[in-house]
């Protein structure tokens, strides 16, 4: 045999060995790998329950392990420091608040509290500003110690410490008596923490272990809704003080004493966090799942690849893949889809030309073909929507915004009214540099061109865009609002003068609007409040602060053996993450 032939034989043998090895290794890539079943209906089929209340088709405890994608690594799990959805998805499993929201009706429901305070049950005093909240009996921390009203008082007050909550919801819950003054204190002061406590000592009071008294600065329809926010969760003071600045961060995550249905088992920076069932959880039903691993994969396509490679039990569906996935019979049943409780819009800087001309803003709203955007840019994962409020928000009346619907003739008329001389200034569409957003920008560019408006697209990164908005250089920002709770104040406050420079990056500031917004929150009579909300929306329809275009249809896939999912418009990153206690792994 010649040398050349021997080389071919060797090469062939090596290739064969590699193929055999690779085939032998297929199908079991990690300890969390699972093989999807092809059962029709998948996780959406309700299951019968056993005598013990567990679903009859539930797999053994050892298999109650779920691996999902949190999409990004949380910066913290300190409830007073969390802000982003990828943080809240995990935090919601770790810490409880006084109240929660019903996943279907959006109504307030008690979580740590025994009931929602009302005037009739004595929870709201005759003055309309003093709330007495009773806790459920037997609440415990994950270390087994009692969870009391003092822990809630400590947590709520800590939420006003801007050194802790400055990047998050600090300053969000302004309805509490004394909050405005406390938020003006100097965080660099040596006595700052004590000053915050002193400023709120009369408005946040632990009457006894099971009773918390809160005092609002005025009558407020949204007051109790704030108590669903993580920033108002109880935290264990001893734990906070023991961990100091490491409280909530990865390096000391396993030492975090939690109050929710889960506690942290492991947090591997830049890779994953794993939470396990908290045996001391007593505020509600104990979870079926024994362990949940949250992977930190930013790119949706990568996550979806990992889902297909059986490394994840859940993944968000990338928009571009949605048509093929929804058309695939084997994948169709794995899709979970729900309208988010929020809206998508383009913020326009109403202080700079041409956006400072309300007729121009109306004209651009009318020139925006929302159906085409939903179809061509988002492949059906956005629903065309003209009102800045989701229909489920109390008092939202989408018909008020009919004047802003797509209508080229009306658009041309509005723009002609704005610029009678026909000299329409160019606009800048500054967008982040991702394919979907760029596709949206080019679609808008083409649509607005039909009414004679030339849009120049500038691509940049998120930080630069925000800086440019703040310095009035960008003019537009594709954004929106995901509601924190169902009360309309959470949405309509964005367009107030008080929010300028924060979430109101369009610098929309109208005294009459501010008054309407304040009035609707102060009005406790539902009928009267609805009437004010109608006026408020009419104001925005006549002088729009944004170009509203869609409601997101959030779409995930779950493996068919993941069952018990209850989706809610309030879900953060995962469908059903508000109610993961009911989720289980079925036999497969």
């Amino acid at each position: 045999m010649s040398i050349r032939n021997r080389w071919f034989l060797l090469l062939g043998a090596l290739l064969s060995a590699a193929m055999v090895g690779a085939v032998a290794c297929g199908g079991g890539t990690s300890s969390s790998d699972k093989t999807a079943t092809a059962a029709a209906g998948g996780g959406k089929t309700p299951a019968a329950t056993t005598a013990g209340g567990a679903p009859a088709d539930m797999a053994p405890d050892a298999q109650q392990v779920l691996t999902v994608n949190a999409q990004s690594e949380p910066n913290t799990q300190d409830p007073q420091g969390v802000s982003y959805t990828y943080e809240l998805t995990v935090n919601h499993q770790l810490f409880i608040t006084l109240f929660d929201q019903d996943p279907k009706t959006s109504e307030l429901i008690p979580l740590a509290a025994s009931e929602v305070p009302t005037a009739s049950n004595g929870g709201i005093a005759a003055d309309g500003v003093t709330y007495t909240i009773k806790l459920k009996p037997g609440l415990k921390w994950s270390d087994g110690t009692p969870l009391t009203a003092k822990d809630f008082a400590y947590g709520i007050i800590r939420g006003y410490n801007l050194n802790v909550s400055g990047a998050a919801y600090g300053g969000f819950f302004t309805n509490l008596k004394g909050a405005d003054a406390v938020l003006k204190l100097d965080p660099k002061s040596a006595t700052y923490v004590q000053d915050v406590q002193n400023g709120l000592k009369d408005s946040v009071v632990a009457v006894d272990d099971a009773t918390l008294k809160l005092v609002a600065n005025a009558k407020s329809a949204s007051f109790l809704s704030n108590l669903t926010l993580a920033v108002t969760a109880a935290v264990q003071q001893a734990n906070v003080e023991a961990l100091g600045s490491n409280y909530g961060v990865a390096s000391s995550a396993t030492q975090l004493v939690t109050s929710g249905p889960f506690k942290i088992k492991e947090w591997a920076p830049k890779d994953h966090a794993t939470i396990v069932a908290n045996d001391n959880y007593t505020a509600g039903k104990k979870p079926y799942l024994k362990e949940i691993t949250f992977k930190f994969i930013e790119d949706q396509n990568q996550a979806y690849n990992a889902y297909q490679a059986n490394q994840l039990d859940e993944a968000m569906v990338p928009a571009a893949l949605y048509p093929s996935i929804s058309g695939d019979a084997s994948m169709k049943n794995q899709i979970y889809q729900e309208e988010e409780f929020g809206t998508r819009w383009i913020t326009v800087d109403v202080t700079i030309p041409p956006w400072n001309n309300k007729d121009f803003v109306i004209g651009i709203n009318q020139a925006t073909d929302r159906e085409a955007i939903g179809r061509d840019v988002y492949f059906g994962l956005r629903k065309a929507w003209t009102a800045p409020c989701p229909a489920a928000v109390v008092g939202c009346d989408p018909t008020i915004f009919k004047n802003l619907e797509y209508n080229l003739d009306a658009a041309k008329a509005s723009i002609a009214k704005a610029f009678p001389d026909g000299k329409i200034p160019d606009v800048t569409l500054e967008t982040v540099n991702d394919p979907t957003t760029k596709a949206l920008a080019t679609t808008l560019q083409a649509q607005w061109d039909k009414v004679g408006v030339k849009a120049n697209i500038v691509t940049t990164d998120q930080k630069t865009l925000r800086a440019d908005m703040k310095s009035h250089k960008a003019g537009t920002q594709i954004t929106g609002w995901g509601m924190d709770y169902a009360d309309p104040s959470d949405l309509w406050a964005i367009f107030t003068t008080a929010s300028v420079g924060g979430n109101n990056l369009g610098f929309y500031s109208r005294t009459d609007y501010d008054k309407l917004e304040a009035d609707q929150d102060a009005e406790l009579d539902p009928a009267k409040r609805t009437a004010i909300l109608k006026q408020l929306q009419q104001f925005l329809a006549a002088d729009p602060p944004v170009i509203q275009f869609a409601i997101q249809l959030r779409t995930d896939v779950y493996k068919p053996y993941v069952k018990g999912l209850v989706t809610s418009p309030f879900d953060y990153i995962l469908y059903g993450d508000q109610q993961l206690v009911g989720v289980y792994i079925a036999k497969h």
């Binding site: 080389w7 400055g166 300053g171 961060v249 930080k463 908005m469």
Partner: protein
């Protein structure tokens, strides 16, 4: 020569200092900061408090002073994205996957590249030569993330041979295959081309003809006389390639969700996490400076004609 290398080592300090000034200036010249309006639910007062806490409300040169004061004490500063976590913690937790990926990829590139180069040269104009040259051409012309996407779709999604994401350490070899092949194919192709060219040059030398004329077996001529001499230029390439793989893996780390420093670097830049950007840049600069120094030392070792003074 010892004095020369001592001076070179001492030069690392001003080089890194200069890099720190340039990096600090550049990152502050870019718009946006770690705490921007409209991010999360932050309030103006909250952002102001955090800016003050981390001295971001002070002039840039004052901030640089604070940074350097910490740096000389070994404190790389706080991670601004995850308050409470230090940059030292992040590097401590995340160096291993980056180094493992870099080292294994270097080995892959050297073994595959040298083997293909030798095969191609010794079997010139054969199928093996064409396959090797073809591999080298494809490897050199395909960006690593494009190769990564193709490999993931084929071997993770379709056949499920390997994981699509993650890192399992040196024992989790299945996690290594796709990122290592994606990252290492370009340098492997480069090494293969250099090895082949160097081999062909050596093969035409008189002393090789002499060796054959002496009646030495072809294998001995190849391994002892051709390969040994042909690998000298390849050896000097390994330093910069290794440094490049250690510091240039961020796209692959990001794509395969490998929890290494490269991925943290990408996230730090996007988030304007100043201390983390500084630390990673200085670390990468240090690795490259060190690699260059090592190469210069290697030159002197492999080629006795080179003398530094």
């Amino acid at each position: 020569m010892t004095g020369y290398f001592v001076r070179r080592i001492l030069w690392i300090i001003p080089v890194l200092w200069l890099i720190s000034i340039i990096t600090f200036g550049l990152m502050h010249a870019v718009k946006g900061g770690p705490f921007e309006a409209g991010e999360g639910k932050s309030s103006e007062a909250g952002r102001a408090a955090l800016a003050a806490k981390y001295h971001l409300d002070r002039p840039v040169w004052v901030q640089y002073g604070y940074y350097m004061r910490g740096l000389v004490q070994g404190d790389l500063g706080p991670d601004l994205a995850s308050q409470g976590t230090s940059v030292n913690d992040i590097l401590k937790h995340n160096w291993r996957p980056t180094v493992e990926l870099g080292v294994v990829t270097t080995l892959y590139a050297v073994v595959v590249g040298v083997s293909l180069g030798i095969l191609a040269a010794t079997r010139r104009n054969s199928v093996i030569d064409y396959v090797s040259v073809g591999f080298a051409t494809i490897g050199a012309s395909t960006p690593n993330f494009v190769l990564g996407i193709m490999l993931v779709l084929l071997f993770a999604v379709k056949f499920k041979f390997f994981p699509a994401i993650g890192w399992g350490g040196l024992t989790g070899w299945k996690y290594m295959v796709l990122p290592v092949v994606s990252l290492g194919s370009l340098p492997a192709a480069y090494i293969a081309r250099i090895t082949r060219a160097s081999m062909l040059e050596v093969m035409n030398q008189d002393y090789i003809r002499t060796a054959r004329a002496k009646g030495l077996r072809e294998r001995i001529v190849t391994m002892r006389h051709i390969v040994r001499n042909a690998l000298i230029p390849v050896l000097t390439l390994i330093g910069p390639i290794a440094a490049g793989l250690l510091t240039g893996s961020f796209i692959i780390e990001y794509f395969f969700s490998i929890p290494g420093i490269g991925r943290a670097y990408v996230q730090a830049i996007l988030g304007r996490d100043y201390p983390l950007i500084m630390a990673t840049t200085l670390l990468y600069a240090f690795v490259i400076v060190l690699a260059n120094l090592t190469i210069d030392m290697l030159y002197a070792v492999v080629d006795p004609r080179i003398r530094y003074s």
